[in-house]
């Protein structure tokens, strides 16, 4: 049993007192910083990176990994409590998590998120141990055409996110795609819609958009309701009910699967994980109208997907040296500073690092639950703080969080602009989630489309000739039909009723 040997070897590294300590420290600090609104995993890891310079490689990476998923979990906490996604993957957690909190089920939502994450983390760790080499080959199978088709599938899926008007959701996706094009065009080097502002040269950061559209707009919406508090201050039971468990458990299983697979794909894969898992749950649910109003599956699925994806995104990093997302790019920096050049040779030449870090992830996930379950009570009590005191504090952390991404005051101002836009959308009944997904996927989609066309010498058939790409496009088409057909029927009925 090579697998068992490897895991035992890994635990012999990660279970030393020193490494347990650093793992715990990473998870704890990651959670505490990540829980501040506006400060997601990339910002947290970047801020704490220098702290690991003085450690030796194994504890340094164990601690950084701990910070990473600690911050990820912390980010979900703010998504649930105050509707502030700290990073792309917690956008969908906002949709139902925050609604649960408004119904006084914040404790349950946080507990479900923690437990779903633990389950997903455990499964993903096992998967990494068993299937790293074949999965890393999958990552290499994804070329421009496959990425384009995956993005198309993701965009069609994003329409499922909306629970209101389909037309408006599609328009929001388009607007998101358009906003995503701001910045330097990767293929031609031309700058688009930048108004000669150098700060716009690399486009608008995701966190800026998410903070504005979700966080600031939410504050504005709350403030106009005066003292009619948005959130049910009665805490209720902190633990999920039996019924909630029954609903959450299969959703977690599905979310884990989707997240683990998509997490392996560098660039965009992990982004899609939580969106994909959410859209899938909504599609197979008997009563999709519950989603967006506090459905437990809407928390369990994306949370498990995002944790599974966070773990499996280490596969391309550790086996190929390919960073799948900005946090992984920071990890490469951390490895280099420790004198390790990341790449396929890490697994064979430094097995203690590879297996030590992987087993520590499981350990970290257990610690995360142990740390966080008792803290749920404290987080929920935070909601009892009068809103007139809470919202200026949120504003401040939000602004510092945005600033800390690129140390740029300009981006803080930009977030204010997106807050204004978010308020307009709120007034017009347009949901921001599809826009955000379009915003994230747009540049990737265009980049890969044009690259694929360049490589195929202008032959569009490349998208259907390559099998993986063809399957993805077929899935997108099928999903589109599923989404559009019932709506057409409904609108017609509505129109008839009007006329009558």
């Amino acid at each position: 049993m090579e697998l068992l040997d490897n895991l035992v070897f890994g635990f012999s590294v990660s279970l030393t007192l020193q490494n347990i300590l650093f793992c715990f420290l990473g998870v704890l600090v990651g959670t505490l910083i990540g829980v501040l609104p506006g400060i997601g995993p990339p910002a947290t890891v970047a801020m704490l990176l220098p702290a690991t310079f003085y450690l030796s490689p194994v504890p340094a990476l164990i601690m950084l990994a701990g910070i990473y998923y600690g911050a990820q979990y912390g980010g979900s906490t703010t998504a649930i409590l105050v509707n502030m996604p700290g990073e792309s993957s917690s956008v969908v957690t906002c949709l139902d998590g925050y609604q649960m909190a408004r119904k006084g089920r914040a404790g349950a939502a946080l507990a479900i998120a923690a437990l779903a994450s633990l389950f997903a983390g455990t499964m993903a760790t096992l998967l990494i141990a068993i299937a790293s080499p074949p999965l890393s080959r999958l990552a290499l199978k994804f070329l421009a055409a496959e990425y384009f088709s995956l993005m198309v599938l993701g965009l069609v899926g994003s329409i499922v996110l909306a629970h209101g008007s389909l037309l408006k959701a599609v328009a929001m996706v388009f607007l998101g795609l358009l906003l995503g094009l701001i910045g330097t065009d990767i293929n031609s080097g031309a700058e688009r819609f930048t108004f000669d502002v150098p700060m716009l040269g690399d486009g608008i950061g995701f966190v800026v958009v998410a903070m504005g559209l979700f966080g600031l707009a939410e504050i504005l919406a709350n403030l106009e309701k005066r003292d009619r508090r948005q959130i049910d201050p009665s805490i209720g039971t902190l633990m999920p009910t039996r019924e909630e468990f029954r609903l959450a458990w299969p959703a977690t299983l599905r979310g884990t699967t989707i997240g683990a697979i998509l997490g392996v794909l560098p660039g965009g894969g992990a982004l899609l994980a939580s969106f994909g898992a959410y859209a899938f749950e909504k599609k197979i649910s008997r009563d999709p109208s519950r989603f967006g109003k506090g459905a437990v599956e809407g928390v369990a699925a994306p949370e498990s997907a995002n944790n599974a994806g966070a773990q499996t995104s280490f596969i391309p990093l550790l086996t190929l040296g390919i960073p799948g997302n900005p946090v992984m790019a920071l990890m490469i920096g951390a490895m280099m500073i420790q004198g390790i050049s990341p790449g396929p040779q890490v697994m064979t030449q430094q097995p203690e690092l590879f297996w030590g870090v992987i087993t520590s992830m499981w350990l970290g996930n257990v610690m995360l639950v142990i740390i966080n379950l008792p803290m749920i009570g404290i987080w929920v009590r935070l909601l009892k703080v009068p809103y007139r005191l809470l919202f200026p504090s949120i504003l401040l952390f939000c602004a510092i969080g945005v600033y800390s991404l690129n140390n740029s005051g300009f981006e803080v101002g930009l977030a204010a602009l997106f807050g204004l836009m978010g308020y307009v959308f709120y007034k017009l009944g347009c949901e921001p989630a599809p826009l955000v997904l379009g915003f994230i996927l747009g540049p990737l989609m265009e980049e890969n489309l044009r690259r694929a066309m360049l490589l195929s010498h202008g032959d569009p058939l490349v998208f259907v000739q390559r099998p993986i790409s063809a399957v993805l496009l077929l899935m997108a088409a099928a999903l589109l039909l599923l989404v559009v057909l019932p709506v057409f029927r409904k609108t017609r009925e509505q129109a008839f009723k009007e006329a009558a």
């Binding site: 819609f193 504005l220 007139r388 602004a399 600033y403 005051g409 101002g413 307009v424």
Partner: protein, 151 residues
Amino acid sequence: MHRLRINQDFVAGLMFAGWGLAGLWLGQSYPAGSALRMGPGYMPRLLCWGLLILGALITIKGIIVAGEKVERWHWRPLLMVSAAVLAFAFLLEPAGLLVATFAIVTIGALGGPEFRPVEVLFLAAGLALGAVVLFIYGLNLPLAIWPPFLV
């Protein structure tokens, strides 16, 4: 029956179409290329036309189907919260974290339903202290505490 209804869909449709028009106007100089060899202007144009068409459809839907009304705008929170964040953005680097924190907290609080000056001052002081300890001493963010021109 067919009088103009100012509902959410009607306005939203106009807004989307407006984005489309603005995008087309701003992006008119970007070379479009062809479907086989796309230039930097290809996708923007495609998306803007899409927005125009979708916007028109949504507006038409707003006219023929009675939708939800646009609720009244609340200017005070909107102005104050935006001003607070902008003040923070402009003050942080030239005037340091303390000044910027006081600005965002007090201006922001003005947007709230009730403004209690003493309470807000205490809140701002507490948050400023916390922010300095956490972000400058704890996380080493490269920020000045006091206005740099005073030290």
